[in-house]
Each structure stands twice: as C-alpha cells, then as structure tokens.
Amino acid sequence: MADARRKLDIAAEAGPVGGALAHDSAAKHVAGEAVYIDDIAAPDGLLHAYLGLSTVAHGRLLSLDLAAVRAAPGVVGVLTAADVPGVNDISSTHRQDEPLFATDRILFHGQPLFAVVAGTREQARHAATLAKAEYAEEAPLIDIAAARAAGGALVTDPLKLERGDIAAALAASPRRLKGSMAIGGQEHFYLESQVALAVPGEDEDMQVFVSTQHPSEVQHMVGAVLGAGSHAVTVEVRRMGGGFGGKETQANLFACVAALAARKLKRPVKLRPDRDDDMAITGKRHDFVCDYEVGFDEDGSIHAVDALYAARCGWNADLSGPVTDRALFHMDNCYFYPAVRARSEPLFTNTCSNTAFRGFGGPQGMVGAERFIEEVAFATGLDPLEVRKRNLYGGNSSTEGLGRDLTPYYQQVEDNIAGHVISELERRCDYQARRAAIREANAKSPVIKRGIALTPVKFGISFTATWFNQAGALVHVYKDGTVALNHGGTEMGQGLYIKVAQVVAQAFGLGLDAVKITATTTGKVPNTSATAASSGSDLNGMAALDACETIKRRLTEFAAKHWQERPEDIAFLPGRVRVGAREIAFRELIQAAYMARIQLSATGFYTTPKIHWDRKAGRGHPFYYFAYGAAAAEVAIDTLTGEYKVERVDILHDCGQSLNPAIDRGQIEGGFVQGMGWLTTEELVWDRKGRLWTRAPSTYKIPVASDRPRIFNVHLLENAPNREPTIHRSKAVGEPPLMLAISVLHALSDAVASVGDYRVCPRLDAPATPERVLDAVERVRAEAAS
C-alpha cells in the first residue's frame, strides 16, 4: 500500500487515467444489451414472489388469514415470519428493529406481512391482494410535529457537536435572530426498481443476484435470515439501473425474501415489486425541520450558531443515525462559527424507514447553513454572497484570524479552496453585473421577477463510520496477457467500473480492451463496504492499484533475474515493458513469467489514512479531505402564480485531478439536476392515515428534460490536484454536486425578496414548489407593507 502511494507521486505517464472515456457499458446500453437483474435469462423452474403489505400504518396485527392467497391460481407457497429458519430481522444496525415480516406490531403503511410465491409474477401479484388481515388500529405518527407532540421518541442516539460557550456567545452577539426551516424528503426513483433473483445450490448454498449497492450486507442478511453462514451465500451484481443510496440497505428485504422462498421451495425465485409498491415500502431522503438561532454583527460576521436538526426517520433506525450525524457535519458548509452548538433529533414516525440518499443528510445540514447566511444578509442589508465570503473558513495565519479553520467537530480545514472557487465563479459568471441588472429589470417588471444566487459547497469525504473506509480488489493476469479485474465497489451508472479499469490499465501499461471488468461478487472480494459516501473510486481504485503493484513487483523481480538487469531498469510503459535496453510486449513478459512459475494473481487492499472520530466527544478527524464547488443560479418567477423557470446555472466544481472528466462532468450535471428536483418540484405527501399519496411519477415530479436550466455552464476546477495522495490525486464526485442546487433555492428566494424591496427574508422552505413560492411572495409583500 505504501508502495502504491509512492508511485502516485511519480508524474503519471500517458495512459487511460485522466481520459474522457465513455462509460464501460455505453455500447451495451445503447444497444439494449446490458443485462440488469430482471434481464438475466430465467433459470429452469423459476418462480416469482410478491409481498403482501399492511394496509394500516400503526397498530397490532390481530389475525392474518392467508387461505385465499394459498388457494389462488398458480400459487406454490406462502411465507410468513414462521417460515424464517434464522432470524426474522434485517436491521443493518443490528438493533433488531426491522422484522423481515411483521408478526405483531404494525409500524407503517406498506409493511411486509407475508410473501406469496407463484408460477408467474402476475399470479403472485394477484394472490398477494387476497389476504385478510385484522388490525387493532392505532393513530399513526406521520410527521416531525406529530412525533414531537407524542413525546419525541428517537430511533437512535442523537448527536451533539459543541465548540465554545454558545449561551455566552449568543448573549454577547450584537444582534441575534431565531428561525425555523422545513426541508423536504426525496424519493430516489432509481429507474430500475428493487429486484432480486435467488438460486439455491447444494448444501445451504444460495446465489443471489440483486440490485444492491452493498453486496456484503445482503450476503450477511441472507445468511442470518436463512440461518446459514455467510460462506454459503454468494451475492452478485454487475450493474444497477440507478441507486443513489436507495439500494444501500433497502435491497436487503427483497434479496432475503427471494432467498427465503428459494430455500423453502428449492427452486429459483425472483422478486420485483411494482413501482408503486417499491415507493411505498422503501425509505427515502429524510425530511428535516431545522430550528436555529444565529448571533452576528452589523458587518455580517457570524458570532454564534445554535441549531437543532430534527428528522423524520420512519419506523426503524436503518441508517438514520449516520444520516443525521452527517447533517450536523455539514451545518457549517464553508463557514466558520466562532461558537456553535448543533444537535440532531432522529425521530421515530409511522412512515417508511428513511435511508441513505446521495449526500446522506449532508445536503439538509448545508441547506440549514445557507439559510443562516441568508437570514444574516437580510438582517444587515448585505448581499448574501458578501456574507458568505465574510464567514468563510480561514487559515491559521494572523491575517485570516487565528483558529478560523476549526469545524464544529474539531477537524481543521486544511485544504480550504472555497474562497478561490467562489471568486473564480463570481468572475466567470459575471455575478455582480448580472445581479445589478436583475435588480434594475425587476424594478420595471411588475409580474415576472428574476433572482440570482451563488452558493458554495464543501463536502467531507470518508465514511463517518471509520471502519467502512476499507476496500479490497482481486486482479488476475492470464497467460495471454489479458487482465480480469474485480473489486468490492458496485456500478450504478456513476462510472466506477471504468475509472478503476483506467487505473489498472495504466498500471500495466495496457489498453482498456485488455482489462475485463467483472461483476461485483462476494465470492471474489469479501467483507466490502457499501458503494456509498462518494468513496467508490477513492477506495476501490487504490485497492485495485495495490493488487497491480503486487503483481508488478513480482514481474519486476522476475524480469531482473531472467534478463539479468537491475530492478530499477524495468519499467511498465504504455504498450510495452522496458527491460534494461530492450523493450518487450507485456504478453511476452507474462508468458515468460508463467513458465518461471511466477504468481500472476493478487489481492489488493486499502484503508483510508488519517481519519478518526470519537462520536461521544464530538471530536475527531472524520474526513480525509473535502471536495469543493460553487454554483450560480438565475431564475425567473411569476409572482401571480408562483411558477418559475431556471434560466441559467454556472458551476465550477473541484474533482481534484479528474480520473475521467467526462464521467465527472456527468456526475456534476446529474447531481445538480437531482438536487434541483429535491429543492423545487419533488414533494412527498402522506395522508393522515399514513398512506403515501405520491407513488408514481404522475404525482411525484422529478425533473424532466425541459426543467434543466436553459443555460447550463459546467466547468471542472483546473489545476487542483487533491493535496492528499488519493488515487492519482483525484477527488470523490458522487455526492458533492447535488448540493450545488442549493443555489436554485436561494435564487428563488432572491426573486421572491424583490416584491418586498429586498428588506424581508423570504424564509422559503424546501421544496420550493410553485405553491410555496406564491405563498412566500404574498407573505413578503404583506410583511413589507406593514
């Protein structure tokens, strides 16, 4: 591993790393030949399972009559908790709070009660509707307010971050204000729904093909449910049709039910829920309410921030602990708070169990931070961008203010480039001139008002659960000089596979066509972490490189001995290997090495250095580094209807030294639009009975092509290698760009503020649907007039 890092400091020779190469499966995707789980050729004797769901959100299950289900055409089996040979629990936290099938307590509408297995999927779906369940119904707790009113039960331990004396700092602040903000949740809407196919083998063996970001966890869960060891379970996924966090833990249910059915019936079983059931059952992005008090002065400098982040977590803990933790880790965004207290409140509710979603709580924390800034800007009459700049983290030098680099969790911000990114984007997008022009135009435009905002992003990279920051890889070189690559990361469209393949091809001096990317499977690389936290390339790229370096070391030693050269005179160059004065083909070296009985296969391993975190103390260095970016958005709103258009967006984003600029740009553009959907049109609605009403794209509006900004300028920050020795000095890019969309929320707010002559803070909640924008317009008008 140390060797791997040292190699990175050598100037990279020409090779695939850094090239704008197409996604590894692009040709298959456009031809319709890429195989997703549901496309795998049906094994002989395949059966189909379907879930029977609770029709109340809270209460006791008094009886469950499944006679009609069993008698339905095509049905070959019905499974309830009584059929589970192992444990009837799939809680990823091991809190035993997530039964596979409910037995007594019903905790949300759509909770799985049983599964039915039939010859066809239609037969299973139909049979599942025939169950007769009796409930003793109780009033459900649907939202944060209801949960608090009922005593505020938590699903997991809250976190508190505290630095300085918050009470004294607030008291000593020249000015202070209080507020509250609602931040909505978000449905993942991965285009490929949840799906699993389980194939039983001999002994206790079970092969599971499942659309999951976390094969090792599925393996563990299936083993626990079946009462078998993990060694009996193999989980494989070649690709997902989108994940976004929604397949980090949420695939466990579907995999376990398919495996349970396959074990019981001794036949392969597939389970794919309909989209509306998928949306009802699976968790989403947490919605939050952030209550805050900010102390500041007339110059717009923040003195103190006290914030409470309450989240609707749903019926079990799932990942709500780390998600709400990460909200607090980003409640500072790029800003230094001289005194700060941040607390989380992960509330139990009778709704689906909210889970990971791109950004993992960070976006909600950051939306709060930008609201604090906005409040200060309106209170002082300053441009919000000016307030942002005044409160940026500084270095340790006396000019920047001693200690202005300390986060609320006591990690020093050592790689701060936020100021540079902001000023560079401000210049490139002509922010000041456009802002002035917009204000002038608004004064003359009675109905249509425009707004502009520039917001930065600083996102911490690493799993906050320190032990997850490890990865393994397996690299084989075959006698013909071709290479098979396997690692623990999963491909969900983000381009991880091509990036790691670029690293491996470059390490050996090969073309990408010589490297076969193989499906992620627990049988090849064990004990992997979820592909999450933007960490895929950082972790798996390094692990794969470590494996390559092991093989190259063996080859170098062999070549030196075989051709009687010094090891330092052996070099792997593009398309050839230099051995002293001669150059030979890689294939030639491999064939010679094989004849000399050199091992041509290696595992690789990587652990992220430097990181540590003491949750109890609220102190540590949880992030290896930060990824930065900034976006400037311009919008136009109709003040009579609240409808709006995003006219222009300019983005400058930090990918370090990009492994693949085409892939990274795609992440930025896609992440931005997904974030924009979250903050504008995507609104989840549950009724008082706890039924989700937004269960299809007809009622849940994710962005379509016409929603994308009319002008969309996206640039990668140039000449910005990661200061840490990450894989080829690149930076993680999966999650950070989502938060660039906060600029749209603030541009909308700026447009709304125009109706009150920019004197009243619009306090626009998210999502800023046209209804909310119209409400805010009327509220600001009324307040400005009074």
């Binding site: 197409a22 996604h23 499966s25 692009a26 040709a27 298959k28 995707h29 456009v30 031809a31 319709g32 030949e33 890429a34 195989v35 997703y36 549901d38 496309d39 050729a41 239609e122 993942h188 809407f189 991965y190 285009l191 490929e192 729904s193 690709r239 997902m240 049709g241 989108g242 994940g243 976004f244 309909d274 989209r275 509306d276 969900m492 469209g493 983000q494 381009g495 085409a662 892939i663 740009r665 795609g666 553009e669 896609g670 992440g671 931005f672 639009v673 997904q674 299809a696 794209p697 007809s698 994710i702 962005p703 379509v704 092509a705 016409s706 994308r708 969309f712 996206v714």
Partner: protein
Amino acid sequence: MTTVSLTVNGKAVSANIDPRTLLVQFLRENLRLTGTHVGCDTSQCGACLVHIDGKAVKACTTLAVSVDGAAITTIEGLAQDGKLHPMQEAFREHHGLQCGFCTPGMIMSAVDMVNRRGHELDEKTIREDLDGNICRCTGYHNIVKAIAAGAEAMGKAGVTTRQAAE
C-alpha cells in the same frame, strides 16, 4: 389464450398468449428482447418505449393482442448489420447515459422525434418533446446533446427507423 402475430424487428413472430399479456412482457419474456425495460409500470417514465408501425408507444400499458398484425421495432432492432444506428452512436459518443436503464427508451423516443420533426432539432424542441422520458442520472444535458447530434447524423446518412428496421 389468444394467438397474436407480430413482426418484431423485421421477423414474423406468432404465439399463443394470455390476452392480458402486456406488450412489454411479450417482448421481454416470450421473445427475450430485454433491452426494453420496465421502469414505472404506468407509461410515464418511457423506459419501455418501442415503435409500433413506426410510431413511439409505451409498451408497459399496451396489450400485446391490441397490436396484433403490427410491425414492432425495439432497441435491438435499430442496429443494422452489426452497425449501431446513428442515434445509438450519438448517445454513446456524447455520454448520453449513466446507469443506462432509460437509454433504450430515450433512443427510441429520439428516433421517433426525428421521424416526426425532421433532422434539424433545436434544443427547445428536444427538451419539450422529451417530456415522456425520465432520466434520473444525467440531468439530460448530454441526452439533449446526443439527440441533436444523432438527428443530424440521421439526416446525413438518410436513415429513419422505418428504413433501418423494416
């Protein structure tokens, strides 16, 4: 059971099926043409889009028997003689995909757009015409670029879906 006879990607097929069989099921399960995907089940996301007699239709809410006798083109029928259709080539070239799940429907929709609106498509037309296809990954930026380029390439090559696949 009912007999349905179709021409799929230029080949005559006939089968005895449950009359409730959806066209997408028939394509995926009976014919093993799995490039046509099921995304939302309710004809909104467009992952299941195919051409029926040269027009774009969502196969997840179309009964197979209702299009008896029709000529169907799926994503697998676009490439000719091992060569990708210009629109497929454009999506690959312009990074118009990430997870790939919406891609076949997007491409079928794009070809239909060119058939209806010609080879010179401005950005506004593409964006508004694409409202029946959802992509959750790309933010549409590269998809729109790919369609504009693919339309132009189709014009140069004199290709339509009808010529290419029928």
